[in-house]
């Protein structure tokens, strides 16, 4: 008995002193617990699917943040990993009849390998040149996919793919587990203050000043390849799971919009922060997924309305709800102009404050630091 208590003491102490006093971490824990109990309270497959897709897009967006936010290698073609892994898994099923458990790992490894090989030329490009180079890759592949319509199904894609589990709830938990583990790994890998892995610090250094990093004896080429490999690996995991939970895969998985969505979510939530893309996806993805429901909401609200201005307003909202990508694009522009640090980062700065003396994070409403009792006012 005492053995169990001693085993539990460390995490309990961490929770008591490391999580509870910091509002951001507390919210994150609550958020993940809520995700795990959602299927217990609500088992409507339509909404469960929304969370499932959102979980996969979280992996996709966070992996973009690791590669482009932390390491500064701006990748505007992240859909390359996503689409190649998805098509790889679907094609392996179509031609060899293998099950998802076999096709997904092979597709993920294949896509990562291809991505890393294609990134080799990108290592000597920087800034806008790198962005244009990476932008071109998935679009090139898209042309090949549509031209080889006998193999890939062209615009219609590949349909009737096997699911990950028998029920939607089972698939939900698989996606959620993969998401949690991936985000945890990426969070640890990018942690600049970590005592165990150096990658976080080095990624930051490469972004801030690559020449200085190289002068300090860091093999920047090796770490840039590593960043491409890690970012690509997790994007490929999301991409390989996605067609199996949807049942189909089409050329949109390689399209410019897919690459761009990862960027939108990350910028909206806050770049160079792992929780930023998570917040971004969970705020904006429901808007896209539920756009038709939102439209129905406005249609229903319109039926009883008498006054002309209100009816006109509702009609405009109804047309806007049909075009979620318009709203996303407007949000991107507004965020870029007025809130470049992102929503999650702005909220965090509102509710947390760093102690000026010991650099410990405190809740913003505290008067004194919780460790060294320095004044926070």
């Amino acid at each position: 008995m005492s053995f169990i208590i001693s085993l539990l003491r460390r995490p309990l102490n961490d929770f008591r002193w490391g999580v509870l006093p910091v509002p951001g971490r507390f919210i994150a824990i609550i958020f993940f617990i809520a995700l795990f109990i959602i299927p217990l309270i609500m088992d409507h497959p339509y909404y469960l699917r929304m969370f499932m897709y959102a979980n996969l897009f979280v992996i996709f967006a966070v992996s973009w943040d690791l590669l482009s936010g932390y390491t500064g290698q701006v990748n505007f073609g992240h859909a390359l990993f996503f689409g190649v892994a998805g098509y790889g898994s679907a094609l392996l099923y179509k031609y060899f009849g293998w099950q998802p458990a076999q096709t997904i790992p092979i597709a993920v490894l294949g896509a990562t390998l291809l991505g890393v090989v294609l990134c080799f030329p990108a290592l000597r490009l920087r800034g806008s040149y790198l962005a244009l180079y990476t932008l071109a890759l998935p679009i090139m592949l898209l042309g090949v996919v549509i031209a080889l319509r006998d193999v890939t199904g062209g615009e219609y894609g590949i349909r009737l793919l096997p699911g990950l589990a028998a029920t939607v709830t089972g698939e939900y938990y698989i996606c959620l587990l993969v998401m949690t583990v991936s985000v945890l790994i990426m969070w640890k890998l990018t942690d600049a203050q970590s005592r165990y892995v150096r990658t976080g610090l080095i990624f930051h250094a490469i972004r801030e000043d690559e020449i200085a990093a190289r002068a300090s004896g860091i093999n920047t080429i090796r770490y840039k390849i590593l960043a491409f490999a890690i970012g690509g690996l997790f994007a490929a995991i999301a991409g390989a799971l996605y067609p199996h939970v949807r049942g189909t895969i089409g050329p949109t998985s390689l399209a410019l919009t897919t690459s761009f969505l990862a960027v939108i979510w990350t910028i909206f939530g806050g770049i160079v922060s792992i929780y930023g893309p998570v917040v971004g996806v969970y705020t904006l993805y429901p808007l896209v997924y539920l756009s038709l429901d939102i439209k129905q909401l406005f249609v229903r609200a319109l039926t009883g309305v008498q006054s002309a201005p209100l009816a006109g307003f509702l009609r405009v909202m109804q047309t806007l709800a049909e075009r979620p990508y318009l709203i996303l694009a407007v949000i991107v522009i507004l965020v870029l102009l007025f809130m470049p640090e992102g929503l999650a980062v702005r909220i965090r700065d509102k509710i947390e404050r760093e102690c000026p003396r010991c650099k410990l994070t405190n809740a913003a409403w505290r008067r004194e630091c919780r460790a060294c009792s320095a004044s926070l006012r």
């Binding site: 800034g127 679009i139 522009i333 870029l336």
Partner: protein
């Protein structure tokens, strides 16, 4: 497709892409701004031609007279109130301009729907030149392109404004010290460039099928051309445009499924240029962009 047709088509394509990418290249040269939304103005000009000739029943000349100033004004507004505010951050500019492309696309969807639209030929029929049947529309386009490029070249080399633009492109800081307002020059350059894009869109309107997603191919072409010709080089953009126009038509003519693969091949050309010679055919190396 016979060889004479390939030549005519690649000249027309190359000419229109040249108008588009010269403007793109000018903006980059003067302000180091990669304005991807430049391709949207081509699409908007085509749609505007469709709107005025088909919906409003105006003549071609009147429509052109309305379209060019309207699109130029829109381009100036977009530049002044959106792009100018973040132009110090190249990645943010790329993101913002892609978002602008999406916005224009969605607004067109909202106002005119996703149907395929067509514009009537300015001058129907064809002429026989050196034994080749050429559509009159193609001749019109070639004429417009020749005039527009000549005017731009004269503007850049012979006028005071052109000297100002080239001075800022050469070194914005020193130009500022000489009493030239770099930001004002950049605004004027954007106006000129947008007008060129509008002219390209107007002249191609009768030959393209207009859909709200038609910006994709011109945007990628423009990107490829300026990378091939060298970012910021006018001569490079014009020559690059004709090379890429020729490659594109050749792929469509020779390969099975070429209609789908032409973008792949054209982008492959860009990727090879980026790997082998990132400064392009006529570009200068910007030290801060290479390692």
């Amino acid at each position: 497709m016979s060889l004479d047709l390939v030549i005519v088509y690649s000249l027309v394509n190359g000419g229109v892409y040249a108008l588009l990418s010269v403007g793109f290249s000018l903006i980059f040269g003067v302000g180091r701004v990669l304005n991807l939304s430049h391709a949207a103005f081509l699409m908007l000009a085509s749609y505007s031609m469709w709107f005025f000739t088909r919906q409003q029943g105006l003549g071609v000349i009147e429509s052109i007279a309305i379209t060019v100033p309207a699109i130029t004004l829109l381009g100036l507004l977009v530049y002044r109130f959106l792009i100018d505010r973040i132009r110090e951050h190249p990645t943010a500019v790329l993101l913002l301009t892609i978002a602008l492309l999406l916005i224009f696309e969605q607004v067109l969807f909202m106002s005119f729907g996703g149907h395929v639209r067509t514009v009537e030929l300015f001058i129907p029929g064809y002429s026989v030149i050196l034994g080749i049947k050429v559509l009159n529309q193609h001749l019109v386009i070639l004429g417009i392109v020749a005039v527009a490029i000549t005017v731009t070249q004269l503007l850049l080399t012979k006028t005071k404004l052109g000297i100002t633009i080239r001075a800022v492109a050469n070194d914005a800081e020193v130009a500022n010290l000489m009493g030239i307002s770099a930001s004002r020059t950049l605004l004027i350059t954007t106006g000129v460039a947008t007008a060129l894009a509008a002219v390209a869109g107007i002249s191609m309107a009768p030959l393209w099928t207009l859909t709200p997603t038609m910006w994709g191919s011109p945007m990628l072409m423009m990107m490829v051309i300026v990378i091939l010709g060298g970012l910021g080089s006018i001569k490079g953009s014009i020559i690059g445009a004709f090379i890429i126009g020729f490659v594109q038509i050749l792929v469509v003519a020779l390969l099975p499924g070429g209609g789908y693969l032409n973008l792949t091949f054209v982008l492959l050309a860009m990727v090879i240029v980026l790997i082998v010679r990132p400064e392009g055919l006529f570009g200068t190396v910007f030290e801060e962009e290479r390692l």
